[in-house]
Amino acid sequence: MYDSLSDVDYLVMRARQYSKTDQYAAKAWLITAKSLFPTSFVIQFESYQVEKAGRNVNEAAKQLEEMFRNFPNERQLWEEVQNVLEALQTDSSDQRQTFLTEIFAAIPTHIQCQMLLSVADKISSTLEQCRLLLLAMKNFPNLVQEHGLKLVDLLIMEETKVPGLPAVNCYRKLLVCDVMPLLLNRGLKQKLPADVLYSWLRRAIEFYISYVTQPSIGDPSSSVGADLLSPTKASIKRLPPVAGLLERENQVIDPWGSLFNLLLLLGHCLDWEFEPDIFNKSREVQWQYIVSQFNRAKQTHSDGGYKQVLHMAVVLFIQSFYFYVSHVEANIAAGNSSGGATTPVVLIEGFPPDMEEHVPHPRVKKQKTDGSNQPPIYPSSSISNAQTLVSNFTMALKCFELLNTREELRRDFLSLYGKWNKETWAWISNLQIDMALYQGNFQDAIAQIQNFLDTASGKMKVRYALQRACCHYCLRNYSKACELVLDLIQTIPENDSLDCEDVEKPNPTGSGRHLLMLQCTEKEILPYCIQLLVASLKERMYSTHCSDAVLAHLIILLQNDWPQQESLFLNVIKHIQRQGSFTYNMFFSYVFVVDILEEFAFLDTAEGGRINLDILPTSTKTLAQQRTVTRGVNKGVKEDFRAALEKQVGRLQEPCQRIIRKFLREERTAFLQNM
């Protein structure tokens, strides 16, 4: 035994001596050695090493194959085979790795296949085993038949072994992104039972929804720049890697495309009817498709039909809501770390255009589910892809409605929904705020916003505040609404050059309810805030709680984009004329528009109704008391009033914006008291 061992070593030693100086001699020695000791692994392995060192792909492959056949139990061989397989899985340009890949390629196919399977069989790590099986099936499609389902079971089992594992985990990723498409695309011949296919589909949906709604990893240094450069900021969202996976496996390219593809494949197995290319059609077409499928299912009472509608609607729902939320609430999508770098879009109730006659307040009503009389949404022209946003929003809304209200779908939907993780939930809640607002469920909307108040920051805070104010307004909770708006205005930095001219205001037509979609910029928000205050004051004016202060405040605010709301102003004047008197001593601090001043001068005349105006900084009453009660006392007062009016016209050049902001700041208490 000892002798033979040392002989082998001697031969190997001789070969090695030559390995540097004479390749041929080295190989010759090894051939000799092999013929003397055909059962020696050491010699065979040495030959392999020599061929490898000489970079002879074919010879090395031949040696490896021979070893694989003759020495299936040698540890060293397995290590080498594993190295080769590892190289096969990495797409690196590393020279050593590519060489190993070439060696593998030079091995006959059936041996390659056996190698993969037997290594997979021997390996202890399940993940590694799954990878190898996957690799084997990718390269040898006929293995799918035998190993495909086994691998699926293995991955599912492994996933369930760890309790509380999030839906985005390495096993699920391999299952959903790699194994399922492979199995469904080719190979799998036997028909799988529907419930198995549905469970696959659920896993896939759960994975993708969790994947895309993951909070992205903070990269403050680069994210700002990237956001500025890229128009589709949500698409470059950096997602955290899935734990346990290698870098190359961690790329989920085009999650939506993959999910749709999987849905089509699974749907095909389930004999679903698809409209060709449905996922690239417009939202309208997609919705029509869902509705028609739903109606058909209803007619035939087919469980499968409902399931199809359910899954299609769920997938389209999450895609459209994902699109909407990621664009609307840019902060969530881009990751909270980027702060206020991006501007969210806010959906808010629009105000009906002012009519001569007061129109009743938009009634809070329970929204009907069918989409025919949904209020229109008028997006601001500064939002680039506004129409897509709106169509995605309504699509999400309609799908959600359908899924939530139809008894046939609701139970399944809730069970699906219940498994989604809390990040996804945050996304959906964001959508739900907008949905509630849109549907006029303001109470619900306020409750939803409440959840986000503590965590929101930057522009998102503005967004929530605005929506809350809007809801309170709609609930006729004017003082709360105004308080919120006043607080909000406080946070907006004063800017003299602010001009509203270049923002084209959405121009609603029709008298029904409508909504506005604005960008959360000062330029777009401030006018809305003032409009909300005006609208609240207007409501007040028409109510029994009207006071001179309310009228005065209204007049002051109407100056903002004078003469846009001149008709409302004239209503106010009518109101004053009806009263016969008007007292507001701060008048000259805040009123500066010539037209308005003239109107007041007119009120003072006989034609104007000789209204008893007490608007000088010092009350006329006090003044009268100070002066000796003689004839002509009123004359002096009159002159003061005229003088004050004239002086006020001289003040014109002061920026209107500044005066109004000063008013809101200094008269905040008085303002709120009168609400």
Partner: protein, 386 residues
């Protein structure tokens, strides 16, 4: 067609036409009597054919009045190549044999040499295959074969020492020819002394052939069932690999060239070329081992290298070593040739006995420790091939 009429007819024709007609006649005759007679002992037509061939193809008959000019001879060679290329497979060698089968016919042999040389340059597989069978029929070591080989080496290796393209791709044109030519070449240049060193470019070619295709060595052996005899290139090449390095290393030693002064042109080797030869031999050695390794499974492997061949080689080895030792008494080459002989014989005699393998290995171990690097090659053959 009777003998008389064909002769008359042919005699009336001028050179290329008469030969073309003659070849057609011969071919037709062979194909018509297919299976009727054993070639060589063939029916009554055999003499007629031989006569026609002599007169109008070889132009060697005493009755022939025609003598060919050099240009016409070239035309004849072209005609023959073309004819063999298009002839039916089964009649090809019959015709070839009719033309060149006679032994000792100097004129026919000269023409054959020219024809083969031509066939090499135009890559004519049919002619080369026939020539290979011809060599095998009369043994590759026979004087006729050696004469042919020498001329070819002269034409293709010595005239232009640069590697010949035609030669390079020969294995793909006629492997059997390569095999028998190699056998013959090792006989012309046995490499057992300074005088018989093969020309460098020839060694290069042979090495390339052998290493590029490990089946080449058994080409002749595979024909054994058909042609009865065979001679394999293995013993000769084995001689090159075993004896070559000893001679080369001897040449490299200072003062050794004086001891074996020679006036043969290719033996005047100087150091760089000797080193190159050594490398080439090492490569050839590996190629040969691979060929043997490959052929091991074949049932004909015993034909590749016989015990007699091995014994012969041992004898040559010991003679050579004796001479080397004479010329250089202080030589570092301490060869224990007795051991070598012993091992070789043992290996040859009992190639199936497992025990001997171990014996060999341990003995080799001992010997090798004496640093006999030249002998290594021989050992490896002992282990693999025999």
């Amino acid at each position: 067609m009777s003998y008389g009429s064909i002769m008359k007819r042919l005699q009336r024709l001028e050179f290329p036409d008469c030969t073309r007609e003659a070849l057609e006649f011969i071919t037709e005759t062979f194909s018509s009597q297919e299976g009727a007679a054993i070639p060589g002992l063939g029916g009554d037509k055999e003499p007629i054919l031989a006569e026609v061939c002599q007169a109008f193809v070889l132009f060697g008959s005493k009755r022939s009045t025609k003598k060919l000019s050099a240009l016409q001879e070239l035309q004849l060679l072209q005609l023959l190549c073309e004819h063999f290329r298009t002839a039916l497979e089964k009649t090809k060698y019959q015709i070839f044999n009719l033309m060149f089968g006679a032994r000792g016919d100097e004129q026919a042999n000269t023409l054959l040499t020219k024809l083969v040389s031509m066939a090499l340059s135009v890559s004519c597989t049919s002619v080369l295959d026939c020539a290979a069978i011809w060599m095998q029929d009369r043994n590759s070591h026979s004087s006729d074969s050696l004469q042919l080989t020498k001329q070819l080496v002269e034409d293709y290796c010595l005239l232009f020492p640069d590697p010949s393209n035609m030669f390079q791709k020969l294995p793909s044109i006629s492997p059997l020819f390569v095999c028998n030519f190699t056998t013959s070449v090792t006989s012309v240049f046995p490499f057992h002394d300074v005088e018989s060193i093969p020309p460098a470019s020839l060694l290069e070619h042979v090495t390339t052939w052998i290493t590029s295709d490990c089946t080449l060595c058994c080409e002749s052996v595979r024909q054994v069932a058909i042609h009865g005899t065979c001679s394999s290139p293995v013993p000769g090449l084995l001689g090159w690999c075993v004896l070559g390095p000893i001679i080369c290393s001897h040449l490299m030693k200072p003062g050794s060239s004086a001891a074996s002064a020679s006036n043969k042109p290719h033996s005047q080797m100087y150091k760089p070329s000797v080193t190159k030869t050594m490398t080439t031999l090492s490569k050839l050695h590996l190629g040969l081992l691979q060929s043997l390794d490959f052929c091991q499974s074949s049932s004909l492997s015993h034909c590749l290298l016989s015990v007699t061949d091995a014994m012969c080689l041992v004898k040559q080895l010991s003679t050579l070593l004796d001479r080397v030792r004479e010329s250089q008494s202080d030589s570092g080459v301490k060869v224990e040739e007795d051991e070598v002989t012993h091992i070789t014989l043992e290996r040859s005699a009992s190639r199936t006995r497992k025990g001997s393998q171990k014996a060999l290995a341990s003995q080799q171990h001992i010997i090798s420790q004496a640093a006999v690097s030249q002998i290594d090659n021989f050992y490896s053959f002992a282990a693999t091939g025999i």
